[in-house]
């Protein structure tokens, strides 16, 4: 028969290990999502040149926006529907305005439909990558998106919907405070 103490130690280590593992699931999940597209988010690409080509086909692109509960900003795409060419750099903007009399931080979450289009959308720049969009009371801003849709996009996808939901980050602001460095350019 084995030694009790060793068994206890092993089991306690297993418990501690599994507890830490539950936290490790958070970054693991992100990695997993990047690989499988589980959560439908498009990640940032630094280099989209390989996707740029001249012989693109025309597809429909639609931006939609939603304000999550309790987010009073005006938040909408500057242009909702457009025709774009795959393999061509496309730039778009979203308009946001802080309608309150308080400084606020918003955060945009993106999602794509159909979800299998996600792998073919190369976003070089998007306000949805920023950890926070800070706006002074009444401030307006045009938020940029730069992207290329890869030529390899499956033929049956003729339309892509990019959805952005703006959330109130609920960060308390002291108005005299300096702007954070990651503040999206205004």
């Amino acid at each position: 028969m084995g030694n009790k103490k060793i068994t206890i130690l092993k089991l306690s280590a297993a418990v501690a290990g599994m507890y830490l593992f539950s936290f490790a699931l958070v970054p693991l999940y992100d990695v997993f999502c990047d690989i499988t597209g589980l959560n439908g988010k498009v990640a940032q690409t630094s280099n989209a040149e390989s996707s740029i080509s001249v012989e693109g086909r025309e597809i429909g692109l639609q931006f939609i926006s939603h304000n999550n509960a309790g987010m009073p900003w005006v938040f909408k795409p500057s242009k909702e529907v457009s025709k774009i060419k795959t393999g061509t750099l496309y730039e778009a903007t979203f308009y946001a305005k802080n309608t309150t009399d308080k400084m606020m931080t918003g955060r945009a979450v993106n999602s794509v439909a159909p979800s299998n289009a996600k792998d073919y959308i190369k976003k070089i720049e998007c306000f949805c990558f920023a950890e926070g969009i800070e706006l002074m009371p009444g401030e307006e801003i045009l938020l940029p998106i730069k992207m290329v849709v890869d030529d390899e996009l499956p033929d049956n996808i003729k339309n892509i919907v990019l959805s952005y939901t703006i959330f109130d980050s609920k960060i308390e602001h002291n108005l005299t405070m300096d702007h954070d460095s990651d503040h999206m350019g205004s």
């Binding site: 509960a69 979450v109 919907v161 939901t165």
Partner: protein
Amino acid sequence: MTNVRSLICSFKTQFTVIFFALSNKAIAEWDELNMTQGATAISREVYDLHMLIFWICVAIGVLVFGVMFYSMYAFTKKKNPVAATFHENTKVELAWTIIPFLILIAMAVPASKTLQSIYNDEAGDVNIQVVGYQWKWQYRYLEDDVSFFSNLTTDLDEIYNKVPKGENYLQEVDEMVVIPAGKKVRFLITANDVIHSWWMPAFAIKQDAIPGFINTAWTIVDEPGLYRGKCTELCGKNHGFMPIVVKVVEQDEYDLWINDKKAAAIAMAELTEKDWSAAELVERGESLYVTNCVACHQVNGQGIAGIFPGLAGSDVVLNDKAGQIEILMEGIQGAAMNSFSYLSEVEMAAVITYTRQSWGNAEKGDGEIVVPKDIVEYKQNKI
């Protein structure tokens, strides 16, 4: 004793009810106890899958329980005083590991195929963004700039058993989602606050609505009709009270409906965005006053003493804009003053402004005019 007796009585009644539930109604409506076949090719495929698995389970069950019940019947201690001694048999054990495995493969193949066709997620002819709110649904027709909320209309008195429940108790809404028959309709499902789930049994669609994320589902419905569904993810207090009603109509009827909706949206935008002047409203209001109000309040706004109150110099008309809107919209209970809420927003604003600007009222009172937007807001706040 009386208590006990009445308890027994009420039990008897309940059992009678239950007995009838079992014998008549339930059996007659057997179809309603099973999964719906639904109204789309996919929903019928799902139904067939469901029935296939069901019958496979029944067959296995008959076999397995058959052997079990036989053993329970035939191998009692009385009939079989000495038990056999076998306790393993590799061949048999191998067989009942492999055979179920093969049956499972037979089930997995059609299921995987159906799943693949469900996941064919191209854009639809009509694309509708569905947003779950605590506790209502919002629908936005992406091609047509049409957007509305869909709320439960069942009366609280029905829910709290003060009046009899209607046929569509908890399954009725103020604005239905209208979609064309025979066309591919895609739903882009998301939520505003907590997680909801959009379920339409007739289309075999159930997709969670998650804040920030878009889930898609599509359908092609052949038959026009009304289809009812519900929220299926616990989303707080009124989770049970946010139904879904989809009205499927022929394409031309859909076109009419969507044009109406668009026209209404444009009209609404005009109402709320146009800058109305006092003179414009007074001009429109005069003829409305003549057709609707003169009989009681008189041309000179003096009314008839003791019967119909005068409007010239009336405190409400002079200084209480909100109060005047309310009286015209709701009427006054117990008086001859009826509600005029059937007037359009423009008409309502015009006739009110006319009374506030005439007979020297503008000079004596605050002189404020009422614009259509005020009426729109009043209506919205009432909801």
